[in-house]
Amino acid sequence: MGLEVKDLTKSYNGIDIYRDFNLSFPEGTITCILGPSGCGKTTLLNIIGGITTPERGKLIGFEGKSFSYIFQEARLLPWKSVQGNIEFVMSSELSVHERHEQASSFIRLVDLEGFAGYYPSQLSGGMRQRVSIARAFACPSDIILMDEPLKGLDLPLKQSMIRWFSQIWKADRRTVIFVTHDVDEALLLGKEIIVLSRPPVQVVTHEEIEELPESRSLENDMFKSLKHVLVNALEA
């Protein structure tokens, strides 16, 4: 069964952000939601994650699902080490040993072995974001929600973050819903790319990319023409 947002209505200060909005997300893939800044992408993530309640509408298939988050900022506890930050969000039902082992294995996956005992202040911005990726995967959730996690990073760093992300993602192919306003990020990471309009939000276009994230290149002709389509849709 797929995941679906049905007849969603949500307004802020009398302005309808969503009015009878419908969208479905295939499970086990990375769906990228692309939209202009301030169009309500974060609101959609918060509604899906159960943080914001819509005025009307249904979430189908999300019942009982657990979520991990990757935010724009790494949001790490400054007083906990890399290892401690990851263990902090893990279920208390796991034994101390299990938590330690699982956190360690994800630290290895983002290539931060040897930094497990470091505090966030001792890491670079990119390393901190890698910790937050490891944290999202180490938490045994069903869905990972990502809110512009690559904003503010330069293109080479963005590409390497995407490499880390897809490397871990390949291991368990979790459902990922990723919002961004950056076309390059969507092209590099999304399997499904959905472009949203300004409020009241409508789906402008829906594209699909079969190629795996790690083998994509923005210089490739297919990507260049797809970029053109997405940029036009965003500006529409």
């Binding site: 994650g49 943080i51 657990s66 979520f67 991990s68 988050y69 935010f71 900022e73 949001r75 506890l77 400054p78 007083w79 906990k80 902090f88 969000v89 208390s92 505090y119 966030p120 202040s121 938490c139």
Partner: protein, 250 residues
């Protein structure tokens, strides 16, 4: 141990020497140990006092009062501070009380405490009332300053309430608690000694200073003052050392 002396240290030493120089000049000018004793005489008095059989009783009583007063105000300050930090209503209720306590002259509190308590308890009560508002206010400020993004992150990840308190709130307010404790201790010692001067418990630095003053033993008054400064300095160092051990992530 390798100690590197920076310019700042040299300036600090120069400052201490200039105080000693002014003191020496005043001693030479008045030429009377009943008014201003010589610094070297006073230093010898400090050594004599430290070596005397009563020293541990006198200094120990003052230190014990400081520690008891500190712990009572720390427990109260933490408790009230956490509740006031979490609830705006309780904060609005507690704030005028804290302001009143802080702006009440210490001498008024002592005069009332002299009526209400036994002489040994007066300095502890005064210490508690002077230290409590500092700790409480710092805890409230600490709780208000906890990064909202981190709280949101913990809630998004459905981290349990007790884990959020022990793993997020307490470490976040720890630097504020330590800074509050440091200010409280600094002001607390002064209040305790004033309390001892006026309430005259059997042992205490204030009691001894008061009798020395009665007999115009100015060197003894200054010597005990120096010892009190030293005690305050040692406690400040202990607090800074524990800050270094607890707040290791900075």
């Amino acid at each position: 141990m390798n100690i590197s002396f920076t310019k700042k240290h040299y300036i600090g030493i120069a400052s201490v020497f200039s105080i000693l120089a002014v003191w020496k000049m005043l001693a030479l000018y008045f030429d009377s140990s009943f008014i201003v004793p010589h610094p070297e005489e006073t230093l010898l008095t400090v050594i004599r006092l430290i070596g005397s059989k009563d020293f541990l009783h006198v200094a120990g009583a003052t230190v014990m009062r400081g520690i008891i007063g500190f712990f009572i105000s720390a427990i109260l300050g933490l408790g009230v501070g956490i509740i006031a930090g979490v609830s705006q209503g309780i904060n609005a209720f507690v704030n005028p009380i804290l302001i009143t306590i802080r702006s009440t002259p210490v001498i008024s509190l002592i005069l009332l405490a002299l009526i209400w308590f036994s002489s040994g308890m007066v300095p502890v009560f005064i210490a508690m009332l002077t230290m409590f508002p500092f700790i409480c206010t710092n805890v409230v400020d600490g709780i208000k300053s906890v990064d909202k993004d981190l709280i949101e992150m913990a809630r998004f990840y459905k981290v349990g309430r007790s884990k959020i308190i022990t793993g997020l709130y307490i470490p976040a307010i720890m630097p504020f608690i330590i800074s509050g404790a440091s200010s409280a201790m600094g002001i607390g010692w002064r209040a305790i000694i004033i309390g001892e001067v006026l309430s005259q418990p059997r042992y205490g630095i204030g009691t001894t200073m008061q009798s020395a003053q009665t007999f115009l033993n100015v060197d003894v008054v200054i010597a005990w003052t120096l010892i009190a400064v030293l005690i305050s300095y040692v406690f400040e160092k202990i607090i800074r050392w524990s800050e270094h051990k607890i707040v290791i992530w900075k």
